[in-house]
Symmetry: C2
Subunit: 686 residues, 2 copies
């Protein structure tokens, strides 16, 4: 196959991307390692067929069936259209060299070559994983054209930069039903992520059935847990999509939910209740008693059988040590074992747990706190604290994953996650051998503020940008290109059943208490939830796991596309573009913002959920008016008076603080307009 490809290259049928301007540029995400555009396109009509050569196993057959269903869905074709055939004249011929492994492994070859001409397409890959990745690329290439649905003539050689590209979902703080997880696995497969890290236990809930210790789920979950049957079902679903499933059972901290049924595991006296609030809590397992390890041996043994993946995550983060400090028996144990501090005690615990995990055939994985020289080098460190601890682990001989910078619950914009590279900062100066130990990274969806209704909107589409960071070559980092492609990927993800876009209007309708949400949406479109840990810090009432997630902050999108577009328009104006340039569009938006408050006023009285938005609405209205005034000064070629400017900037400062846990994202751009209207900046040419 590789030979064929080279021949094609020599024939010059394919030209580098930049030279093929006439072609629809491929809106691919993640961007493949190598793309060469060809001339022409391959039509996709009801007679489209797929042939499998090489060693097609049942996994591959299911993959192709799913591929055809996706292609039918994209094109509106029916089950009687398009088929799998034995003929070598098929429209798409797939060659897969090896049957896939029974249990998907870290580092399995995911590469593929995809070659499309106007007469047919060929997808070749060493493994069925590569075929899966290549078929996702094919689906992303399919478009409506003037002649029919088609994929462009193209030659792609592709493989991932990192072997571990994950998404972690916390199902403890809020339970996330199986069907929601499944649609997210579909999303992961679409952007070539390959590890689902399932954070199954925490203070707020123990979410999996244990047959050995049934009080874990019976008393620790409010009845909200997955049966083992469901877990097996999810693992098979993931396997079909080339995704490994790594379970996490957080210990010795983050474990209150265990103690509701088994208080004897804890370091302090019971009784315990499922935690309803957020934060770091005192309860921790007692590392000094043998029955803890006996329990864990049995429990880990049970879970090791249920989860086929080689890796087993034991958490290990954020032990505050208060229960240990307060327990004389534990203090005595530490003294008698020469332990200087709680870190030593946790290291002892980790070593014991590592031995258990290893005994059951698994490799241990934990958050960066578990890093301690006593652990065997097989252990993998997942860094939530930064590239430094990742580099430190690599230097010490440990493999590592980056999650710092990929916490999607912090509500960063996509560009900010996109800029984070596992090999940057401290990791950049590692030796080649040490770099090899950096396996990749994981997006993390912590679940304090997500429900089945809005979790998709917190994960997608931003996680697709992280997926590109982990799959594509390091030099793929053009932010504009990323955003442009992200928009299309986002639509495609919706087509797979994700609800990150479609959940928005119904949530706004509920808040407005009426069907017509046009006024509310003008406001909602330009706000974003507060960032980092500000939601915690600014909560009007202390939130719990029973607090409804139905406020404007829960409906607002993590990243305002309107604000981003407005910033682009203002920059264009500031760049001195010719009249009328972006000005009419800027005016239109500013006018809409100025006027929304009046429209929203009647709604505010009808809905309790809208009341908290009143100050935001007022501020947006003021900002719109200020921006329009600034534009008027600019238009008249008149310099805005200092007093006016000062007044407006005071407004701006006020508008920068959160209200209702939301931020008005158009503030900086309007500030720019005000500054320009009062400054010496050359006005846009008339």
């Amino acid at each position: 196959m590789r030979a064929t490809f080279v021949v094609l290259m020599l024939c010059s049928a394919f030209v580098p991307l930049a030279e093929a301007q006439s072609q629809h540029p491929p809106n691919l995400m993640p961007m493949p390692a190598s793309v060469q555009m060809g001339a022409g396109r391959l039509l996709i009509d009801p007679s489209f067929s797929v042939a499998l050569s090489g060693r097609p196993d049942p996994l591959l057959r299911r993959t192709v069936d799913r591929f055809l269903n996706n292609l039918r869905q994209q094109t509106g074709m029916l089950p009687l259209d398009m088929k799998v055939t034995d003929s070598s004249n098929a429209t798409l011929v797939i060659n897969c060299e090896h049957a896939s492994k029974e249990v998907q492994e870290l580092g399995e070859d995911e590469s593929y070559d995809l070659e499309i001409s106007n007469s047919g397409a060929k997808l070749s890959a060493p493994t069925s994983l590569g075929v899966m990745r290549g078929l996702q690329t094919f689906l992303q290439l399919a478009h409506t054209t003037s002649d029919g649905f088609a994929v462009p003539a193209i030659a792609i050689q592709d493989k991932p930069r990192f072997p571990w590209r994950g998404l972690m979902i916390d199902v403890s703080r809020h339970f996330i039903p199986l069907d929601v997880l499944k649609r997210n696995l579909d999303g992961m497969a679409a952007v070539k992520l390959n590890v689902f890290h399932w954070h199954l236990s925490d203070n707020q809930g123990f979410r999996i059935e244990s047959k050995e210790f049934s009080k874990l789920h019976q008393m620790g979950s409010d009845g909200l847990y997955y049966t083992q049957e469901e877990v097996r079902n999810l693992i098979a679903y993931a396997r079909d999509r080339g995704i490994r499933v790594v379970p996490e059972f957080d210990m010795p901290g983050h474990s209150t939910a265990w103690f509701v049924g088994y208080p004897e595991l804890a370091s302090g006296p019971g009784r315990y209740e499922i935690e309803r609030k957020w934060g770091v809590f005192d309860p921790a397992m007692d590392p000094t008693q043998e029955r803890t390890y006996k329990f864990l041996d049995k429990f880990i043994g049970e879970m090791a059988k249920l989860f086929p993946d080689r890796f087993f995550h034991i958490g290990g983060d954020e032990v505050n040590g208060k229960q240990w400090d307060a327990n004389p028996k534990i203090q005595e144990f530490m003294r008698s074992h020469g332990m200087k501090n709680n870190q030593d005690l946790q290291a002892y615990f980790n070593k014991r747990v590592q031995a258990i995990v290893s005994k059951h055939g698994k490799t241990m994985l934990g958050w960066d706190e578990i890093l301690h020289p006593g652990l065997p080098k097989s252990v993998v460190i997942q860094s939530w604290r930064g590239q430094e601890s990742l580099a430190e682990a690599a230097k010490q001989g440990y493999r590592g994953l980056l999650s710092h910078g990929y916490y999607v619950d912090l509500i960063w914009p996509a560009w900010q996650h996109y800029a984070v590279d596992p090999m940057s900062d401290a990791a950049a100066s590692l030796s080649p051998d040490e770099k090899q130990r950096i396996l990749g990274g994981e997006a993390c969806m912590w679940a304090e503020y997500v429900s089945p209704e809005n979790i998709d909107s917190r994960i997608w589409p931003r996680t697709a940008a992280i997926a590109e960071r982990l799959w594509s070559p390091q030099d793929v980092r053009d932010v504009n290109s990323m955003y442009q492609r992200l928009e299309e990927v986002s639509r495609r993800l919706e087509g797979l059943g994700l609800t990150h876009n479609s959940s928005y209007a119904p949530m706004l309708r509920r808040i407005a208490g009426r069907d017509d949400i046009s006024a509310l949406q003008v406001l909602a479109d330009v706000v974003e939830p507060v960032k980092d840990d500000t939601r915690e810090k600014t909560a009007p009432v202390e939130p719990t796991s029973a607090t409804p997630l139905n406020r404007l902050v829960d409906a607002a999108r993590p990243e305002s596309a309107t604000a981003r577009r407005f910033a682009d328009l203002v920059n264009e104006l500031a760049g001195g573009s010719l009249k009328p340039g972006p000005e009419p569009q800027i005016r239109k938006l500013l006018t809409r913002w100025r006027d929304q408050q009046e429209n929203l006023q009647s709604l505010l009285e009808e809905s309790f959920l809208l009341k908290e938005a009143a100050p935001l609405s007022q501020e947006l209205s003021n900002l719109g008016a200020a921006g329009l005034a600034a534009l008027d000064y600019l238009d008249r070629g008149q310099r805005a008076p200092e007093a006016w400017k000062a007044e407006q900037l005071a407004l701006i400062e006020q508008a920068k603080t959160q209200k209702a846990q939301l931020l008005l994202m158009v503030v900086p751009s309007i500030e720019k307009l005000i500054e320009a209207s009062a400054g010496q900046a050359p006005l846009p040419a008339k």
Copy 2:
């Protein structure tokens, strides 16, 4: 309970609807038999609780769990919010007098009383079916208010007008997967429909697994069928929602798919293939051979066990008799049995089949063609031909259902279905006894032009109007009120997972071949698919079951809300409303229509699916311009010249014919504007 209610009435806490203007009017559909508004409202917050008294069976418990889940979904609350309790202080106390029947029966009591004050709510019903209906009413009452989510103080006494309120779905012509059926069952339950009529076999596919005759599904379905396990699953799902499942196996005609595996059943020589086209075909079962009845005895016996419902539908429609005419053996049989025509032969067949159906404990149901004096009076006739045959059947002593007028595949507007009453026309003059025999009706979704993607949009929301016709008192017939409530019901149905609204934009995006569909949507919003059987007659290429359903005609909504609103505006203008009145809105719409063509032009060249829309786009543009010119004449108080008028009316005539199997629904209103501009009609006051 009834006593309590009367007391409340005496206390004057409740006032008739019209007097309670200050209250949010209850947007209920179907409208209950009796509604009295009270003062105040009952808040629904996370502490909301439900208690069950009387005889709560497992069915009722599941009903309440589902109710709470729906209420959580409506309010954005979480699984930890709201609960079932034993306390009589619960927010909502449900009293159910009798455990429900194991198998739901025709005519079971579905009545309920719902009484809500600002301190609590009480729902009483003789059966769990009544509780289900009452809880749906409660869900429709819940709204966002200034203080929180709430239901208004109200007293409702409700019961259905007809005991049989059905929806038929044809899954043969296009296979409809189980999950799509399930979401439609959720929709049915929401509007209190109680029979799912499952049209399981036809010429184009035999859609159910038979263990007795496995070639039926193996050779007659293209692999697209329901397993018996899935069927049981669906029946249980329906039972939980108070919906009976009546299977239909169409015979002796509409049965080609049976003959693919069992040609010996047919009246003509094989071999047979699954039919791919639409229409009435020749193949029919051979009523003269005993093996036909032996086969049917075994088959019906198998299906009678699988489907617990008392009724069994044998189709019986549209036998063209050609195979019978051409078969000398059959002709000989008819002669020797003294049969004058094919109707007699079919009557003989029906009698034999009726005996089999009856032997297996079921009551036979069939389309109006089966009506024949020889059949026992237990048989039920479903009329697709009109109230006349329904009345005729009732006079002869047969029970009947109306489906004529409720065929949603004919793409009628909701008001047209809404106007059809099972008791109108010929049925109106029946005696009270005869009227008793009219059991109700069924909306019918024939599946020539629906796929899983657009079937919801063909069923909903229009079927909710039919549901109201069958549930509510006969005098509930205000069309404006119906449309207003229909809009809200439509949103609620979407919340249950139906996709009649949400499928629209993705289909338009596919047609446009781009994300921005604003230009296309201006056009799409004012067109409707052709009506009645015009789609058949105007097909550019003969359609088959493999023809993709991805054209504009497949995406267009059955009823243009924009056109309806525009007609209202024009009527308001013609009614002489004061300036500015509706004129600015009319101008805005006309301008948008005039201008869409220019915007759409670039798209037309990019997408093969858009090409056929070009003439429509051009016409809409002309109509917009004509309407604007007419308004100008009206504004100037000038009479439009006759020549101009003639020219415009020629345009109008041209625009009345279908293009791309679509109709421009704003034509009559624009015609009205043109007529007014050239007429003597008094101009709206300035």
